[in-house]
């Protein structure tokens, strides 16, 4: 690590040499990792045990592959990745003491986060109208709980960033502690992004593998 990098991440006067706020955030993220780990595991296991799709209100068998809209999900994935990029720029701007640049980038993150949430609301509404509810199938239960929990994390992140944005106008978001506050919020936001990276692959993309999906019953071979 260069001297400048050392300066950016200068060891705090604590027993571990790490700022307590940052340490607590990493411990929280590690625990949240286990939380999402159980949700993703549950989804995958039940997907394996109950590979068929779901039955709508009229009693018709529906297929997950047909239900998903890969274009929309890819778009929201791209949006979330770019929001992570803007968050990294916001943290960097704060380290450099460039408050205006920080505000601009944070507004971008909030905007992209809202687009992501909008896509998720649209997706949930569409699925609901297609007959997939949280109660009518195992897939519906695990899917809504997993992606809904992630969406809640995104919403909390947006709220946090909005508060941080307005807090920056009070003049208190300066110096080492100001930089640390932004960095901790950034860690949370990036975590939300990496969880989506996993969800995008194991929940959405695997449904498209092969002519009948990874689970073998995505779509009938004749279609």
């Amino acid at each position: 690590m260069s001297q400048a990098a050392d300066a950016t991440h200068a060891h705090a006067p604590t027993s571990t040499g790490i700022d307590h706020k940052k340490l607590i955030m990493w411990l929280f993220l590690a625990s949240d990792c286990m939380f999402f780990g159980t949700l993703i595991s549950t989804h995958l296991l039940y997907r394996k045990l109950y590979p068929t799709g779901f039955t709508d209100a009229e009693g018709h068998q529906q297929f997950i592959q047909k239900l998903f809209n890969i274009e929309l999900t890819s778009f929201s994935t791209f949006i979330l990745l770019m929001s992570s990029f803007l968050m990294a720029l916001a943290v960097s701007a704060m380290h450099k003491g460039q408050l205006k640049s920080f505000r601009r980038n944070v507004l971008g993150v909030i905007f992209f986060g809202l687009i992501f949430l909008g896509c998720q609301v649209y997706e949930f509404t569409h699925f609901f109208h297609e007959g997939l509810t949280i109660q009518n199938s195992v897939f519906g239960s695990t899917f809504y709980v997993l992606t809904g929990t992630h969406g809640t994390h995104v919403a909390i992140g947006i709220l946090w960033l909005i508060l941080l944005y307005f807090y920056s106008f009070t003049g208190k978001l300066t110096g080492h502690m100001g930089g640390l506050d932004v960095e901790v919020a950034g860690l949370y936001w990036h975590f939300v992004d990496i969880v989506w990276i996993i969800i995008f692959t194991v929940v959405y993309l695997v449904e498209y593998l092969g002519p009948s999906g990874f689970w073998g019953t995505g779509l009938p071979l004749a279609q």
Binding site: A4, A7, M82, H95, H190
Partner: protein, 111 residues
């Protein structure tokens, strides 16, 4: 960050270097996501696609935690704290998968 550090030329040069890293990384992340979407529609064996998808997902995951989350620059302890959470999450999945995969349980042991 103290104001003195924020005006240090070395520190600013480091931040500019990182800024370029972030841009490069964002482009790579977008490209990998694009490749993932193309990959699922290619007529290739499922095992190959699944391996490639897992690999690309892991690359994106570690790229974000190492660079965007600064783990590559930060204290090593933070990396290992996060890895503990990751390992426990994967171990939970493996354990439950193994549990659900048991087909022939000799019930006489439970009676």
């Amino acid at each position: 960050m103290s104001e003195a550090v924020a005006h240090d030329p070395d520190f600013l040069a480091e931040e500019v270097r990182r800024y370029h890293h972030f841009i490069t990384l964002a482009l790579w992340l977008a490209a990998i996501t694009g490749a993932e979407i193309v990959l699922i529609f290619l007529p290739m064996p499922m095992s190959v696609i699944l391996t490639a998808l897992s690999l690309m997902s892991a690359i994106k995951f570690f790229a974000v935690i190492l660079w965007f989350m600064h783990l590559i620059y930060d204290h090593k302890l933070l990396f290992w704290i996060f890895m503990c959470g990751m390992v426990l999450a994967f171990a939970t999945y493996a354990a439950v998968l193994a549990l659900f995969s048991v087909q022939d349980i000799d019930t006489k042991w439970f009676s």
